[in-house]
């Protein structure tokens, strides 16, 4: 397994633009949006906190997770399926599931690096807060990452080709970003929209993240929605995933 992971990491580094995208997009947006003066002012919608304090970094971490889960992961897996990489491996004593595992680990690692960079650069450049409840933060991050990666596997399963996969990923990504409050903060969403957002996995993810920023523990309903999402996407991925 170590060798597969090492090899897949090497291959990813040779295809570095995909990885770079997962890092550059959230960090660039963080620093770019952070320059908008209004976002640096206390916002009554956020209970007097500034948008850049927790909301913006939490959303950028979600963006990093989504970029890796919905475009990078399905792109590689569908290409591997198309080229017969998984089929080739299934003739050996090692199940191609290991390759899948390596892919999940690598994409998770890149998203984690992006999260650390978002937090550190946010704090240094924009004066953002850092998650006060670090254990809670890691828990929420891992749970959200698992749910997003599972949804990414579903995309990899249903995408008809490696060319179509990132496109389908984007189609899934943008409504979810919207529901997470990327363009319209959840606090000023109409009630119906906010209810949808409450059950969208990403809404609770951003909320739970913000709670850990404030030093609180994530709320059980938020964790419960994410767990249900993980079970649902995970189950679908297991059912739909095709090795060849």
């Amino acid at each position: 397994m170590k060798k597969i992971l090492l090899m897949e990491t090497k291959l990813h580094l040779r295809d570095w633009p995909i990885l770079a995208f997962g890092l550059v997009l959230p960090i660039g947006l963080l620093l770019g949006l952070g320059q908008i003066p209004d976002l640096g002012k206390p916002d009554p919608n956020l209970g007097g906190a500034r948008f850049v304090d927790a909301q913006l970094p939490a959303q950028m971490i979600l963006l990093a997770l989504m970029t890796m889960s919905f475009t990078a992961l399905p792109g590689v897996l569908t290409a591997y399926r198309e080229q017969g990489v998984l089929r080739r491996m299934s003739t050996t004593p090692v199940h191609p599931g290991r390759l899948l595992g390596a892919q999940l680990v690598i994409n998770l690692a890149v998203a984690a690096i992006a999260a650390v960079l978002v937090i550190v650069l946010g704090a240094l450049v924009l004066g953002s807060h850092v998650p006060a409840n670090l254990i809670g933060f890691v828990l929420v991050f891992l749970l959200g990452a698992a749910a997003m990666l599972a949804l990414g596997l579903v995309i990899a399963s249903v995408a008809p080709s490696s060319k179509a996969a990132p496109g389908i990923g984007s189609v899934v990504m943008f409504p979810l970003l919207f529901l997470a409050g990327m363009w319209l903060p959840r606090e000023i969403m109409p009630d119906a929209l906010r209810t949808i957002s409450d059950y969208s996995v990403v809404g609770p993810f951003v909320n739970a993240m913000r709670d850990t920023w404030a030093g609180d523990w994530p709320q059980l309903p938020h964790l419960a929605v994410m767990l249900v999402g993980l079970a649902l996407f995970g189950g679908l991925a297991v059912k739909l995933f095709k090795w060849e």
Binding site: Q83, T92, P93, V94
Partner: protein, 301 residues
């Protein structure tokens, strides 16, 4: 000794039956060909033998192992090079071999294997940059890296230029000489005739015949034709008296002698007795294509 036994294999897909009824046996150390037109069920058959698909009926034994129930055990005795299976574009040749070697408990020395398949100079090249022939060589090496007793090679030379094809044939013979039993799937008559000790002719999911290439040709008559220009007049009766000869005809200066068995030798000896030299001697033989046509009523390619 049989290393592979396939009995009444049957495999259905949702919309069609890929393999109706296929039975054959492969003996240790031979190159066994599975020959048939596209869509005959060749690949499905070897996929079942390789434990990649579960048969709907029949029994398969590979070195005494049930490929479906004992997948892990099978993987250690059987290496496969399958159609439409490849590697990531940016993996280097040595990395692929090193990685695949790590999948087996007691792998072959991949450095030596690399030399053996003639890719020593391409060690650091990326898979995506290799030519078709080089990819197939690497693929053969990967199939052998686990030191299998049996190697399944599916459509090994499809899409290769004639030179690369001949080089690959040589490689296959080398592999057999090293003691590995080979199951070769092909739709090239020439390839099967040149490489295989025995062939299963498959058409529309059924085995039409299992025999050596010469045996298959013999079955459809095995008729040969000699054409030559005799240096002096010869009477038909002299040649018709030979047991090998069935017919003699003439067209202009040319004689056409039809027959079986060791025809060329018998006729040239008889002509020598008459002090006649056969000029422009040509031998025409039936081919596997003819055998397939006669056995199935359809053309192979």
């Amino acid at each position: 000794m049989n290393v592979i036994e396939v009995e009444n294999l049957h495999k259905r897909y949702p919309n069609h039956v890929a393999v109706h009824d296929v039975s054959f046996e492969v003996s240790e150390g031979e190159i066994f060909g599975i020959l048939g037109p596209n869509g005959a069920g060749k690949t499905t058959t070897v996929e079942c033998v390789s434990g990649l698909r579960v048969p709907d009926g029949g029994a398969i034994r590979v070195a005494g192992i049930d490929p479906h129930r004992e997948r892990d055990h099978l993987r250690r005795v059987l290496g496969a090079q399958l159609q439409s299976s490849a590697l990531p574009e940016k993996i280097k040749v040595w990395e692929a071999l090193d990685l695949y070697a790590s999948f087996y408990p007691d792998p072959a020395d991949w450095r030596e294997l690399l030399e053996r398949v003639g890719l020593g100079a391409k060690k650091d090249a990326m898979f995506g940059k290799l030519s078709g022939g080089q990819r197939q060589r690497l693929s053969v090496a990967l199939a052998l890296v686990g030191k299998p007793r049996i190697a399944v090679l599916d459509e090994l030379t499809t899409g290769l230029d004639p030179q690369a094809r001949r080089d690959t044939w040589e490689l296959v013979e080398q592999v057999r000489d090293s003691g590995v039993t080979i199951v070769l799937v092909t739709h090239f008559m020439e390839e099967a005739e040149r490489l295989c000790d025995r062939i299963a002719l498959i058409d529309a999911g059924r085995v039409v015949a299992v025999d050596s290439p010469a045996g298959l040709i013999e079955r459809v008559g095995g008729e040969q034709r000699l054409r030559f220009r005799p240096s002096a007049p010869v009477s038909d009766a002299v040649l018709l008296a030979l047991p090998e000869v069935t017919d003699v005809s003439r067209s202009g200066q040319q004689m056409v002698v039809t027959g079986k068995g060791n025809l060329a030798h018998a006729v040239t000896m008889a002509l020598a007795d008459q002090q006649v030299i056969p000029g422009d001697l040509r031998i025409e033989q039936a081919t596997l294509d003819d055998a397939f046509l006669a056995l199935t009523g359809r053309k192979l390619a």
